[in-house]
Subunit: 149 residues, 4 copies
Amino acid sequence: MDASANQVRKHEARLRVRYAETDQMGVVYHANYLVWMEIGRVEYVRSLGVNYKDLENEGFYLSVVGTHCRYLYPARYDQEVVVETWLLNTNPRVVEFGYEIRLAESGKLLADASSKHLWLSRDWRPIRLPAEYQRILYAGTNQNVSIEI
Amino acid sequence: MDASANQVRKHEARLRVRYAETDQMGVVYHANYLVWMEIGRVEYVRSLGVNYKDLENEGFYLSVVGTHCRYLYPARYDQEVVVETWLLNTNPRVVEFGYEIRLAESGKLLADASSKHLWLSRDWRPIRLPAEYQRILYAGTNQNVSIEI
Amino acid sequence: MDASANQVRKHEARLRVRYAETDQMGVVYHANYLVWMEIGRVEYVRSLGVNYKDLENEGFYLSVVGTHCRYLYPARYDQEVVVETWLLNTNPRVVEFGYEIRLAESGKLLADASSKHLWLSRDWRPIRLPAEYQRILYAGTNQNVSIEI
Amino acid sequence: MDASANQVRKHEARLRVRYAETDQMGVVYHANYLVWMEIGRVEYVRSLGVNYKDLENEGFYLSVVGTHCRYLYPARYDQEVVVETWLLNTNPRVVEFGYEIRLAESGKLLADASSKHLWLSRDWRPIRLPAEYQRILYAGTNQNVSIEI
């Protein structure tokens, strides 16, 4: 079994800190990291050829059931930030993403984080993600992803 | 014709500046005044016995078509702020609100503002607000409100 | 030793969901819970007779080093929400808060959460909170709070 | 006198609508347009070779004294948006920017807007922007910019 088979797929999204995201301590207000994590996972999904918007239109909503973030170093106005995103855990009903947020210039780690999600239908019931979407979206995990239908 | 007939109804909503609302200049980020104006008009409507939420549930959406704000003095973290709201202009299709935003303690004027709104249906078409709602919601103007059906 | 000595002090802050806090799923966007947690701990501190603003003015900044939130049930526009806040862990350099976020009307639990904080000086170095402030702010824990100087 | 001498310099900044920016009407919450306008003017200034961050570091703060926005068509989640920014009026103490916000794909106009700003010193006093910065930043107006010292 080769190493690459075990490789976790990671995707980097890039953004620039907005003035609106700072607070009076002169750094990014901590709740905005959760907004950046959302950008990270949307771009991760896009990098697999899927628009999250289209998933919603087809009735698959990725609701947030948990977030965790460690803040290691403050981000400041106008800095370029990289959000690295990967899959931590997946099953037909649940997805968990991992994140590392870094300064683009120096690579300095600002935060590491995770978020847990439940697939919901348009009427807010927990559902299974269809197998064809599991095949696409869950491809990047290093787990033996058991695609259930 | 007595003076009170000409009196504009005003309503005061009160809020406290959140840390999240400040920016690195040490004052409230200017876009948040528009959020406060929304609180002002929702509370104005509530003071007339109407929940804006119920209006939406019945299919009357108050979309924003214009905003204007003059920033006279900065608001700071933890200050109590009063948003005074009144009706500037009304017709069956359009509502315009006026606002004065003040420090609760000193009464100092922080901003004056206005917002213009169009009544929309659930499917985003411009509609007339029904006469019974016009009677309730437009009662506080000093205009001769022409209730049209 | 009586039971009350073991009682954790809790404080309830109350707020109303803003339209700006909702997202296109029709519920409160999850990052806003972190803003509400901040309101919870600021009001907790105020209930002990201390303005967090004054702490900052004296050079004690409560930086966020970690947040954790479980989302159990969605909050919706205009609902009244109660943020119950208490101290989980304290030492001269670190404070950890616990939170339960509930609907005011039904008491339904929307989320439970925690946040971890480091006391920083104005120039961003970790510092010890002075003993007199520890006595006031850490009074509500059920731990044997070891006040160190 | 050739036409190009009268040409107003315009700059286009591009962004993608975030989920956090939507509200329960399913469109972008209107206050976020002011955040986008700020991105527009920061990128306008950057296109002239100046980082707004550096201006602040040198003690020149561009405070907001007025905003005006007309909302013509709603922006939706994940759409790419272009913020076109130009100078409306300038003098040593005041700058006014104009904006047009469009969908990247179709060019459809979402909003037109303006914002008025006062140059402030670090201690919040109105100041004149130094002549060398006026020469750089105010170059794109079609006015006879009178650079005063």
